[in-house]
């Protein structure tokens, strides 16, 4: 132990810069991985917590596509044999805070609205009424002004179910959580405005709920309504969202679930409430998996640093190792000494990394929550706290991997021959001389990488795709020394001519340091290649989307409700708004569409209804197959034909001509696939049927959006304003012009990939730290040479310039390797990983200009990373004359 302290810890403490860089590198790697874990957890956790909070004691729920037809409820009366059933309407509304005129999505606060028949629902959830507002007239008069705290409500211990019902009966009555009331300065009798879809309704607060049970959802943003009022508010007359079932005490949940399932008609499903959480988890899995994979890049680069540091440590102390061995230290102990060094670095890195993780997670959540909530689910945008699980994860990942990274140099240290090392004629050059064997290993790995791209997904995950990318990274990494030797041979003259003696010296220094440098260059290349790959992938993707948007967004105006749709919640447009659009003299055609959640083969997908004829006439869909898709789709009108998105086709292996069996309120029914179309808005998979077909099977549901076509020459912006002006104050719609919707699509697209760039940037920063650390080590090691240089007439500027040239050369070489490797990786990303995770066809597009800019930036950045070592080099010579 004393030996460890003296031999390992002291040098680590002495060489603060290198130790700090390594620890920071590991820490960033760990932090990124843990932060992504936290971020991924936060998006699901928000949904699942809300789900559990509202589910209460519900053990089983009965759900159907687009909800349940309420008239089927009497036929489900047999559920009584298993317990109590309570019909539920649940959804999000927006609390309208400010002035209606200047209302934007930012001025609204999301609230969870639960509509139940309290007569049945009482035992399901923990409702604790604080005050039922006996004297309502007085309450109205004494309503506290906004911002002031209302008097604390007195608990009402003996509210009967009937009294509870009384305060909810009216369609404009609500009961809200005490927390929300306090936060907003509301009292019993206060008015409350809420927006459902495109409708702004006024309600009167009739009671307050203690912050227990469902009232805890969304931090107290909970509104309880009667089921009738909720149906009206959400425009779901005739339907309920689900039937919650509370089993008779002592019932076996699994057994009962099976029994209920056996008796339900096929279009209905019985499931535990947590199933919805699992479905959302599955839906987000691909998105999360890609973030996780990306976060590992930073960790791998961090581990390169560990390898680097331990290698340098071994190289620098061969003589001392020799001495120790001569003094009787066993090989095993030498091995453990250096593994100990790696462990010390890892532990410190993990400690710092966990601290950083929380900060990064906040940033990452801020970056991803917009994506997740735009594309997937409304989520509470706060990451969960770090727990022991995360500490364990960081340790279980960081420590063994660090030891693995250090194993090669540590093993080598244990192989040191005592006598040779002590004499000093045991050099490292032996290890890295260019030999055919050095090419064999990387080429084999690269061949393997290619082979892996030919394999299909595993459980819908591009497992082999990830492995292939990993193999490219490893293969190229192994190839780095060979590439550098090759470059060294061909670049000597060029450098001398262009950069003079400093260039020549830099070339000589780097060439002699290739064994040590390869690691840094490999690390930097890997992170740069990921940047290149991602830039190519996103550039291609964005290009594809721009093309797709151009082809499919044909309408002049797009009208949607004021609330974003999320899983299980499809806000709708009311007839008033639709009429306002239809009546405008410049509107020639409208295509309304409606989406409902569809659980297909256990996975959450989307079932949409659109007007096929309008779609065909206006070319608003880009078909993938078959070749005569338009004719096939026209034939499908009125024939129960559907079109499916590429993602759906890919996910479920369906194509034109196949039949989908879908649950409808009229039982299971087969729908023939007429065509497959491109859709980059949704990776869940979409099935679209003609509006008429949809109505026949799923009833006349209010549309969730519509597209309007204008007479040629109209000013969409003007029409938009005119339509909005005709809406009364009870209706609010969001209307996008074609141009602004395209902007919006690209804005969403770009925000989706912001996190990708951020993660990449971190990996590059880590790699830069590696470059700086390596250069510094080289400088320190070359004290004698540098002194000699100064003695032979080199001035400080020349030394500084030489080191900066070295740094820039490293950057240039790394970026060169990175470009090639990145191109290969982007192929894997575009043609393997993306296709297998999301089912998207992306047209390859090289973002040339971006790559040129990035390459120049990298060379400059590495040169900048060389400034500190360069200054140290220039100073060292003066202060350490030897």
């Amino acid at each position: 132990m004393r030996l460890f302290t003296q031999f390992i810890l002291r040098p680590l403490a002495a060489d603060k810069m290198r130790t700090a860089t390594t620890i920071l590198g590991v820490a960033l790697g760990i932090a990124v991985v843990v932060a992504i874990q936290l971020t991924n957890a936060s998006s699901i956790r928000g949904f699942e917590t809300a789900l559990e909070t509202v589910a209460g004691k519900t053990a089983v729920e009965v759900v159907g596509t687009g909800g349940l037809d309420e008239d089927t409820l009497p036929s489900l009366n047999w559920l009584r044999e298993y317990g109590v059933a309570s019909p539920v309407i649940e959804g999000n509304a927006a609390l309208v805070i400010g002035d209606l005129e200047t209302l934007s999505r930012r001025d609204m606060e999301a609230v969870r609205v639960l509509g139940v028949d309290i007569l049945r629902d009482m035992p399901f959830r923990d409702y604790q009424l604080l005050d039922v507002g006996q004297d309502r007239d007085t309450a109205v008069e004494t309503a506290a002004p906004r911002g002031t705290a209302p008097p604390a409500p007195a608990p009402v211990p003996n509210v009967t179910t009937q009294q509870f019902l009384e305060i909810l009966t009216d369609e404009r009555s609500v009961v809200i959580s005490e927390k929300l009331a306090t936060r907003r300065g509301l009292v019993i009798g206060s008015q409350l405005r809420m927006m459902f879809g495109d409708r702004v309704n006024s309600y009167v607060i009739r009671g307050l709920l203690k912050n227990e049970g469902p009232a805890r959802v969304l931090d107290g943003n909970f509104v309880l309504m009667d089921i009738a009022a909720a149906q009206l508010a959400f425009d779901r007359l005739g339907r309920i969202d689900r039937l919650d079932v509370l089993l008779t005490a002592g019932a076996d949940v699994q057994g009962t679930l099976a029994a209920i399932t056996a008796r339900l008609p096929p279009e209905l499903t019985a499931q535990p409430p947590s199933r919805r959480g699992q479905q959302v988890e599955t839906m987000l899995a691909a998105f999360h998996a890609n973030l996780t994979a990306l976060s590992w890049i930073a960790l791998i680069v961090g581990l390169f640093l560990v390898y680097n540091t331990v290698t340098i440590s071994v190289v620098a102390r061969r003589q001392e190792i020799g001495t120790l061995r001569a003094l009787g230290l066993t090989r095993l102990k030498v091995l453990f000494l250096f593994l100990g060094e790696a462990a010390a670095l890892a532990v410190a890195g993990i400690g710092v990394g966990l601290g950083l993780a929380r900060l990064l997670a906040d940033a990452a959540v801020a970056m991803t929550s917009a994506t997740v909530s735009t594309i997937y689910i409304a989520t509470a945008a706060a990451p969960p706290d770090l727990d022991w699980g995360h500490v364990w994860l960081a340790t279980a990942m960081g420590l063994p991997l660090s030891l693995l990274a250090a194993a090669v140099p540590a093993l080598e240290a244990s192989q040191v021959q005592p006598t040779a090392a002590m004499r000093g004629n045991d050099t490292l050059d032996m290890r890295v001389r260019l030999r055919p064997a050095m090419l064999m290993a990387p080429l084999t790995v690269l061949a393997l990488a290619f082979g892996l791209t030919q394999l299909g997904p595993v459980n819908g995950r591009p497992l082999y795709g990830y492995l292939s990318a990993f193999a490219i990274v490893i293969g190229t990494g192994l190839l780095v020394p060979a590439i550098m030797y090759g470059l060294a041979r061909v670049s000597r003259e060029a450098l001398r001519r262009r950069l003079g003696v400093e260039g020549l010296l830099a070339h000589a220094n780097l060439t002699s340091a290739i064994p040590r440098l390869s690691i840094s260059v490999a690390a930097l290349s890997v992170s740069l290649s990921m940047m290149v790959a991602i830039a190519i992938m996103i550039g291609s993707f964005r290009d594809t989307v721009v093309y797709w948007v151009g082809q499919t967004l044909q309408a002049d105006l797009f009208v949607g409700p004021g609330i974003r749709p999320t899983v299980g919640q499809e806000p709708t447009l009311s007839p008033t708004v639709i009429e306002a659009v239809r009546r405008h003299p410049r509107v020639t055609a409208i295509d309304s569409f409606r989406n409902v959640d569809l659980v297909y083969e256990g996975k959450l997908t989307v079932l949409g209804a659109g007007t096929f004829s309008v779609v065909l006439d206006h070319g608003a869909v880009l078909f993938k197959s078959p070749a005569n898709a338009r004719d096939r789709v026209r034939e499908a009108i009125g024939q129960d034909g559907v079109i499916i998105s590429e993602a759906f086709s890919h996910k479920f292996g369906k194509r034109e001509g196949d039949t989908l069996t879908l649950p409808t309120p009229k039982g299971l029914h087969g729908f023939q696939v007429a065509a497959v179309y491109y859709d980059y808005s949704n990776d869940r998979g979409v099935v679209i049927m003609d509006a008429g077909t949809f109505r026949r099977y799923y009833g006349d549901l209010a549309p969730s959006g519509l597209a309007a076509f204008l007479t040629p020459g109209s000013d969409p912006e003007l029409v938009r304003m005119e339509i909005l002006a005709t809406l009364d104050e009870g209706h609010r719609a969001f209307i996008f012009s074609n141009w602004s919707l395209r902007e919006e699509v690209l804005r969403v697209f770009d925000s989706t990939f912001a996190i990708t760039y951020a993660l990449e940037l971190i990996a590059i920063v880590v790699a830069m730290l590696g470059v700086a650390g390596t250069l510094l080590a080289l400088v320190l090691e070359r004290r004698r040479e540098l002194s000699l240089l100064r003695l032979t007439g080199a001035n400080q500027d020349q030394v500084r310039k030489m080191v900066i040239i070295e740094a820039a050369l490293i950057g240039a070489v790394s970026q060169g390797i990175g470009l090639v490797m990145g191109f290969a990786l982007s192929m894997v990303l575009i043609y393997v990983i993306n296709v297998q995770s999301f089912g998207w066809t992306i047209q390859f597009h090289m973002p040339t200009w971006f790559l040129i800019q990035a390459s120049i930036a990298v060379v400059i950045a590495t040169a900048v990373a060389g400034i500190y070592p360069a200054r140290r080099a220039a100073q060292l010579v003066l202060s350490h004359e030897e």
Partner: protein, 375 residues
């Protein structure tokens, strides 16, 4: 007649503050519910069915039955319909026009058991309701309906269940005068009220999962109206009985806040031939005796009553084989009342007479004042 329950529910719901939906200025809201007025002509079986124009309506069955081995049971099932809003503004089927409440109770004197259950539902999409075209009233899976001339009663809960078939027996008799039974001083405070007084009954009764095949006699009340009690009326005591001489008797006495007997108390005696005789408050006395039952909620119910109808030379003593027959629903509706099987003994014109029936005592728990003041 089971008035208390319906009144409690109906009136308190009516006390609801008006909704904030705009009212057209100058248009007075029309009287939403129909009053029970004199001259109503009952027609059967039509009037077994529901009368949704009236605010409050109930179908009430009680019976004394026994097994072949002679073990006695009593049962009560009452379907209430209480109008909340005759035309809800909300087109949702879940909008509450009426509330349906059903009480089921089974008495087992030899087992010292009294078991009860309730259902409280809105109509919703067919969850509870009462048909107008024929007699069928249901609440969840509990149901009373007419099959030909037979009344079928079915209700089941973990504690108690009944499955009974009732013949109509004697023809329906109309209570009160000129088709209405007056309950208060105001003209509209009345109801249309008829009874089937001796219905041969057979079927099964289940107590705590133990099923018994039984036969016996039942009594049915069907009453509907809009406004019943008035301020100052605290509760009432009501009895129905089948006497051994083939006659049946119904009496009720309204109690006022000051303890006095309300002048609207009345009764009906049904002869063996089905002819009826109406009694007003002056024609009879109904006096509590010493024995009483004290409920956990503090209510004290007299368990012995003396009835004297001098004009008929009837002197009857009412006792019960089971003290605790209180139906207490404090959590759901805040209602508690005593409703149970009774034994009758005494003399008719000097000759010994026996009988059995049901006694209902309301207004012993809490006060009707709060809700009544809403009217």
């Amino acid at each position: 007649m089971v008035l208390a329950v319906a009144i409690l529910m109906g009136v308190s719901m009516a006390g609801q503050a008006p909704s904030p939906r705009p009212q057209v200025p100058g248009s007075e809201p029309k009287a939403p519910w129909k009053d029970a007025t004199a001259g109503f002509a009952h027609v059967f079986p039509r009037d077994h069915a529901s009368h949704p124009d009236y605010k409050i309506e109930w179908w009430y069955y009680t019976g004394n039955v026994k097994t072949t081995s002679g073990r006695r049971f009593g049962y009560q099932i009452t379907f209430f319909r209480v109008g909340i809003d005759p035309a809800p503004a909300n087109p949702s089927k879940w909008a509450i026009r009426d509330l349906y409440m059903t009480h089921l109770a089974v008495s087992d004197p030899s087992g010292r058991r009294y078991r009860y259950a309730e259902k409280l539902s809105r109509g919703g999409p067919g969850l509870a309701g009462a048909r107008t075209d024929r007699y069928e009233v249901w609440n969840d899976r509990w149901m009373a309906n007419l099959d030909g001339s037979r009344h079928l009663l079915r209700a089941s809960s973990p504690q108690a269940a009944i499955e009974l078939t009732l013949d109509e027996g004697k023809a329906p008799i109309i209570h009160g005068v000129n088709g209405i039974s007056q309950k208060g001083a105001l003209a509209g405070n009345a109801s249309h009220y008829y009874s089937l007084t001796r219905m041969p009954t057979r079927g099964s009764i289940t107590v705590d999962g133990e099923r018994f095949e039984v036969t016996g006699d039942s009594w049915m009340d069907h009453e509907f109206g809009t406004s019943f009690l008035e301020e100052g009326q605290r509760g009432w005591d009501w009895l129905s009985m089948q006497l051994s001489d083939g006659r049946e008797l119904m009496l009720y006495q309204l109690r006022r806040d000051d303890g006095s007997v309300d002048p609207r108390s009345s009764g009906t005696l049904v002869g063996a031939d089905g002819k009826t005789r109406h009694f007003d408050v002056t024609a009879f006395t109904l006096t509590p005796g010493q024995a009483s039952f004290k409920s956990k909620n503090g209510a004290v119910y007299p368990l012995e009553w003396s009835i004297a109808i001098p004009s008929e030379q009837l002197d009857l003593k009412v006792t019960t084989p089971l003290a605790d027959q209180e139906l207490s629903l404090e959590r759901s509706t805040g209602v508690a009342y005593w409703e149970g099987m009774i034994d009758v003994g005494g003399t008719a014109a000097g000759r010994p007479i026996t009988g059995s029936g049901y006694l209902e005592m309301t207004g012993y728990f809490g006060s009707l004042g709060r809700v009544l003041s809403g009217q």
